[in-house]
Subunit: 208 residues, 2 copies
């Protein structure tokens, strides 16, 4: 009725960071499109179209389909997603310690958050399980081992993933004590050397 | 009708090993009593009474309530249950390697078997989850660390459990490659030293 109203609304919208709206719209559109088409069937183009934004915005805000899936559907905390980049920004001789600290800190900050749901998802055969596998193997550990220039990079990445998934299970899901209540520093000191060995040491594996 | 029949039946029963019947009857009774009363509420006495045998038979055949629960309800392969005893029968300097080999061999023999169901059970809040925790922490790793005479025995046991649960997740549940298809010897060489360090090495943990 009042011709001033739409303009006021537009002004309020204008005060919000425009990126916030785009990002939120993409997350909502992604949930719908992934649910309708599955992980493989959902395209970046379709998600962007549903959100009413340019497809380039997906790469701008999420870096790609996997991260968008991780955030929209798996709801993996962004700290966990940023782990790969942050652990590579430093001395490779202490990369295991940084991974352990990053993993425990990120999940502790959400009290384990959706870790149990993630694990249930891994035990299923649905799109979420496939997406989570891709996220962990390719997006996260794949980026780390690609930089290390070691033999058996994928097996090393798998071994790291096994120790981190196991720590998540024992600390946030099964809640074995005393590990579940141990300070982050204790876990970092215990698990860091394991990850470091898996990533950079001579593993002396038998020939296969 | 035929008076010979019951005797013939009795004779057939008599040819079976008596222990097999008792064991089978106890497993069936345990499933019923655990389902009706939960893990805490179920007593060895009640299970034995349901099976129509003496309560001492539970200890004779299963060693106690936890193992009976592990076999009857969780259906953990007996090879996994016997792991604790077998790994302790040897040099403590190579106990990590024996645990890794025992774990992978036992689960590989069932192609992962019920590992996904076990993990889903761990993510729940039901009696099975509590029973599995007790089985792993007290019955299995508790027995191992009790013999090692090390500092922080429970934390060490938890750390071992985390690596084994993680290997089970990655090899049998999430099936990350190449770890899921790697020969057992490769996993033993990779994971054995981790378990050995967790169990017997100086961990240099920060004071808490």
């Amino acid at each position: 009725m009042d011709p001033a109203e739409p303009r006021a609304a537009a002004k309020r919208r204008g005060r919000r960071p425009a990126g916030h709206d785009t990002r939120t719209a993409l997350l909502e559109a992604a949930r719908q499109v992934f649910a309708e088409n599955g992980y493989e069937g959902a395209t970046v183009r379709a998600i962007a179209a549903r959100a009413g934004v340019d497809a380039a915005m997906v790469n701008h805000w999420f870096g790609g389909k996997e991260t968008l899936f991780a955030q929209a559907v798996l709801q993996i905390p962004s700290e966990v997603q940023e782990l790969a980049a942050s652990v590579l920004a430093g001395d490779l001789d202490t990369v295991g310690e940084r991974i352990a600290r990053g993993f425990v800190t990120a999940w502790d900050s959400t009290a384990g958050g959706i870790f149990p749901a993630l694990v249930r998802s891994l035990t299923g055969h649905d799109q979420a399980a496939a997406g989570l596998r891709d996220f962990l193997v390719k997006h996260m550990f794949g980026r780390i081992v690609a930089r290390l220039e070691v033999d058996q990079p994928l097996l090393r990445a798998n071994l790291c993933a096994s120790q981190l998934v196991g720590i998540g299970m024992v600390r946030y899901v099964a809640k074995f004590e005393p590990l579940a209540s141990a300070p982050a520093d204790v876990l970092v000191a215990a698990v860091g050397p394991t990850l470091q060995r898996y990533l950079t040491a001579e593993l002396n594996l038998p020939a296969t």
